[in-house]
C-alpha cells in the first residue's frame, strides 16, 4: 500500500537516492547533499510539530511516498509555507510594452521580463520527485495531492495564494537554453552550479549577481525565447496534474530556466473543494471506488489510497487495513477526496 507521511531522519539515504536520479532543477528545493538534506528533514519535523513560527523562519514541510509492504521510499513532495522562506523569492514577470510612434505610424509590442519579488511569501509547492516508473500512476497523484489535503486540515498555516515552479526546458546535453542566453553572462557559472547554490546558500547571491534591470525578450536567443514558459518533458505529468488541481500558468517564470510558475487561489483547489471530513468506520470488503484518504494532525499526518465501500451521512466505510496504514481507528475523523 502507498502511504504519504512526513519525512523522517531514517529516510535520508533513500531520499538521497531518489534526488540523485532527478534532473538538475530540483536541486534547489531537494538537496543532493546529505547534511543539507538532513537539515531539511529536521526543519520539516519541527514545522510539522508546530515548533516553527511563520514570522522568523517560515515552516517547510517535506513528505515522502512510502511502499508500506517494503518500507521503500519512492518519492518526495514538499510545501514551503512562505515562498522565499523569509528571504526574497525571485521570478521574472513576463510583461509587454507598446513602442509606438504616431508620427511614423508604427507600433510594436515589445516583450519584457521584469525581475519580481511579487510571489515572496505565498505558499509554494516544491521538492516534488518520484521514481520514473510511477509517473502518471495513482501513487503519483497521491503524492502530489496529499499535500493539498494536509493544507485543508492546517489551513491557517498557509496563504490564500499559492504558486509552484515547474522545471523548464533542459536539453539532453544538460544545457539550459534560457540560462545560456541570460543567466550565464551574469552568474559566470553553469546552470547546475547556480541551481545548487540557490538551494544551499542564502538568496543573497541572486541579488548580487542577477541583472537588476528588465530584459528584452527579443534580445534573447531563439532557443531561449522558445523555452520561456515551457515545462521540461519530464514534468509534463505533474504540470497537467497541477492544472487539473486548479493551478494556472500566469505571468511568472523561473529566473534560471524560464520554466512556468503556476498560480492558484488556495481555497479554489480541487482537492480542497471536493474533499470532506468524515468519521472512520470499517468495511469487510476490499472493493469500491479508490479515493484519497488523509488523517492525523501535524506530525501524525498520513495519507493513502483506499477503496471506499460505502459513505453514509458522515460515516465512511473502508477496509481495516487502511486504518492501520493511517494509524487510526473507528470513530476517528478522516478526510476523503475522489481520485
Amino acid at each position: 500500500m502507498w502511504l504519504v507521511r512526513p519525512a523522517q531522519p531514517d529516510d535520508l539515504d533513500q531520499i538521497l537516492a531518489i534526488a540523485g536520479t532527478q534532473c538538475a532543477r530540483l536541486s534547489s528545493t531537494l538537496p543532493k547533499q546529505g547534511d543539507a538534506l538532513a537539515y531539511k528533514i529536521e526543519q520539516s519535523l519541527a514545522s510539522f510539530a508546530g515548533r516553527i513560527s511563520a514570522e522568523d523562519d517560515p515552516p517547510r514541510f517535506l513528505f515522502v511516498l512510502e511502499n508500506t509492504e517494503t518500507g521503500d521510499i519512492a518519492g518526495t513532495a514538499g510545501i514551503d509555507a512562505r515562498a522565499g522562506n523569509g528571504q526574497p523569492f525571485y521570478s521574472y514577470r513576463r510583461d509587454a510594452l507598446i513602442h509606438a510612434s504616431h508620427e511614423l505610424g508604427v507600433s510594436r509590442r515589445v516583450e519584457v521580463l521584469y525581475p519580481s519579488h511579487a510571489l515572496t511569501d505565498v505558499t509554494l509547492l516544491c521538492s516534488f520527485s518520484i521514481r520514473p516508473e510511477l509517473q502518471g500512476t495513482d501513487a503519483f497523484e497521491l503524492l502530489s495531492r496529499a499535500r493539498i489535503l494536509f493544507m485543508a486540515d492546517h489551513r491557517e498555516w498557509f496563504t490564500p495564494r499559492m504558486a509552484v515552479e515547474i522545471q523548464g526546458v533542459q536539453l539532453e546535453d544538460g544545457s539550459v537554453p534560457f540560462w545560456d542566453s541570460l543567466g550565464r553572462h551574469f552568474f559566470d557559472m553553469d546552470f547546475e552550479t547556480a541551481d545548487q547554490y540557490s538551494g544551499q546558500l542564502s538568496k543573497t547571491f541572486i541579488a548580487e549577481l542577477m541583472p537588476p534591470n528588465p530584459i528584452y525578450v527579443t534580445l534573447l536567443s531563439e532557443a531561449a525565447q522558445e523555452a520561456m514558459g515551457q515545462p521540461h518533458q519530464i514534468t509534463v505529468p505533474n504540470f497537467e496534474l497541477l492544472q487539473r488541481e486548479g493551478f494556472q500558468p500566469g505571468n511568472y517564470l523561473d529566473i534560471f530556466d524560464a520554466g512556468p510558475v503556476l498560480e492558484a487561489r488556495t481555497d479554489s483547489l480541487r482537492s480542497l473543494v471536493t474533499s470532506h471530513p468524515m468519521e472512520l468506520h470499517g468495511s469487510n470488503e476490499d472493493v469500491g471506488e479508490t479515493c484519497l484518504i488523509a488523517a492525523g494532525e501535524r506530525e501524525q499526518f498520513r495519507c493513502t489510497l483506499t477503496p471506499v465501500a460505502e459513505t453514509l451521512d458522515d460515516k465512511l466505510k473502508v477496509p481495516v487495513a487502511t486504518w492501520k496504514t493511517l494509524n487510526r481507528t473507528a470513530g476517528d475523523r478522516v478526510r476523503i477526496a475522489p481520485l
Binding site: S101, F187, L201, F205, M210, P211, N213, L219, L220
Partner: protein, 366 residues
C-alpha cells in the same frame, strides 16, 4: 581662393548637388531641396539674430571665390535637445559580484541617455570631392572653433560631435541589425535618413528604454560600439588633435562615438591670437603648402569670414594682407583679425611668430 562665410540664399543649388553626390552617409545634409532651403533660412535667421540664441543653427559655406561656387559646408548647432529629445546610449559597466562565491562579473551595458541636452554640437561637415586635400577640410572644420571662441556666450562651455559609426558598403550597420531592427522594422539606411529629416526622436520613441546588456548582443554588433566608419577616421583624428575625446556616449543607431571638448581647451582656441590688418601692395605668394599657412578671421558675428594666409604675413602687431584677401574678408587696414593654426604644426614653431612674441602665447588670448 577659398573663403568661409555664412551660408546664403543662393547656395541652395550647390548644396543640393553636393548632398546628392555625398550619398547616404551624411544624415545631417540629405538631398532634399525643401529641407536644405529650411536649413538655409534657419541659418540666415541665426546670423541675423532674429531667433533665440539657443535655437541657433550656424552654417558656414566654403566658397571658391574665383569660380563663385560653394564647395563645402560645416555647422554648429547652438543647443541640441531643446525642441525634441536628444538621445544617446551611454556605454557603462554593470558589476555583479558575490564575495561568498568569489564571482566578479563586469558587464558592459548601454544606458539610454539625454546627457548632451543643452550642449552645442558641431555638425554638418561636407566637402566636395574635388576640393579634398590641401588643408581645405581643416579650414572647413576648424573655422568653427574660431567662431565658438569669438562668441562663447552663444554656445555651451562644452561642445561635441557625433561621429559616423560603422556600416558596410550596402549601408548596413551591425549594431542596427542586432538591436534597432529588433524594435523597429526598418533598414538602417531608412532609419538614418528619417533621422536626418528630423525624425530621430520619433524613432527613439520606438527604441528600448531599459539598459541593454552587451553580452546579449552578437560579437559583430559589440565590436562596432564606439568605433567610427573608416571614412570618418581622418575627421576623428583631426578632432582628437584639437583636444576632443570620446565621452562614453554612442549613437543609438550605429554605435558611432560622441567626442567632446571644453571650448577653452580646444587647440584652435588656445593657440589663436589677435592682430590688426594691414593691407599691403607688396605681392604675396598665397600659393604655399597648407603647413605654411594660418587661418585668419574677420571676427564678425553676422558675416564671419575666414581664409588662409602664409605664416610669413604675420608681424608683431599686424598681419599683412594682399587686397584680394582683405576684400574676401571684407576688412580694411586697421581692422582687428584673429589668427589660428591651420595644420597641427601650429604657429609657435614658426620663426615669424617666435621672433615677435617673446612673452608667450598667453597674452594674446582673448
Amino acid at each position: 581662393m577659398l573663403v568661409i562665410r555664412p551660408l546664403q540664399e543662393n547656395d541652395l543649388d550647390d548644396l543640393y548637388a553636393m548632398a546628392q553626390s555625398a550619398g547616404k552617409g551624411l544624415t545631417t545634409l540629405p538631398a532634399d531641396r525643401e529641407l536644405l532651403q529650411k536649413k538655409i533660412n534657419h541659418a540666415r535667421e541665426t546670423f541675423n539674430q532674429r531667433i533665440a540664441p539657443e535655437a541657433g543653427l550656424y552654417l558656414f559655406a566654403l566658397e571658391d571665390i574665383q569660380r563663385k561656387k560653394t564647395v563645402g559646408i560645416s555647422g554648429i548647432q547652438a543647443r541640441v535637445g531643446l525642441d525634441e529629445v536628444f538621445y544617446n546610449y551611454r556605454l557603462s559597466v554593470t558589476v555583479n559580484a558575490s564575495k561568498e562565491l568569489g564571482v566578479h562579473v563586469r558587464t558592459p551595458t548601454l544606458h539610454l541617455s539625454n546627457d548632451m541636452t543643452d550642449t552645442s554640437e558641431i555638425c554638418s561637415l561636407l566637402l566636395s570631392d574635388d576640393y579634398k586635400g590641401g588643408g581645405n577640410g581643416l579650414l572647413l572644420s576648424r573655422c568653427r572653433f574660431m567662431y565658438l571662441d569669438e562668441f562663447r556666450k552663444h554656445f555651451s562651455e562644452k561642445v561635441f560631435a557625433e561621429m559616423r559609426g560603422v556600416s558596410d558598403t550596402q549601408g548596413r550597420s551591425p549594431l542596427w541589425d542586432a538591436l534597432g531592427t529588433k524594435f523597429f522594422d526598418m533598414e538602417f539606411s531608412e532609419a538614418d535618413m528619417l533621422s536626418g529629416l528630423g525624425n530621430k526622436s520619433f524613432i527613439a520613441e520606438l527604441m528600448p528604454k531599459y539598459p541593454i546588456y552587451l553580452p546579449m548582443l552578437p560579437d559583430s554588433a559589440r565590436a562596432v560600439i564606439g568605433r567610427v566608419h573608416d571614412n570618418t577616421a581622418p575627421a576623428l583624428r583631426m578632432l582628437q588633435s584639437e583636444g576632443f575625446n570620446f565621452n562614453g556616449l554612442v549613437d543609438i543607431f550605429d554605435g558611432g562615438p560622441v567626442v567632446e571638448a571644453f571650448v577653452h581647451n580646444i587647440r584652435t582656441v588656445r593657440e589663436g591670437m589677435n592682430r590688426h590688418a594691414m593691407v599691403t601692395r607688396k605681392p604675396v605668394n598665397l600659393d604655399v603648402p597648407a603647413d605654411e599657412r594660418v587661418m585668419v578671421s574677420n571676427r564678425s558675428f553676422r558675416d564671419f569670414r575666414v581664409t588662409t594666409l602664409p605664416i610669413d604675413c604675420i608681424g608683431p602687431d599686424t598681419v599683412s594682407l594682399p587686397p584680394e584677401v582683405a576684400e574676401a574678408l571684407q576688412i580694411e587696414s586697421g581692422d582687428p583679425v584673429r589668427l589660428a593654426p591651420l595644420k597641427d604644426s601650429g604657429l609657435l614653431t614658426k620663426h615669424s611668430y617666435r621672433s615677435s612674441v617673446s612673452g608667450g602665447a598667453s597674452k594674446w588670448q582673448s
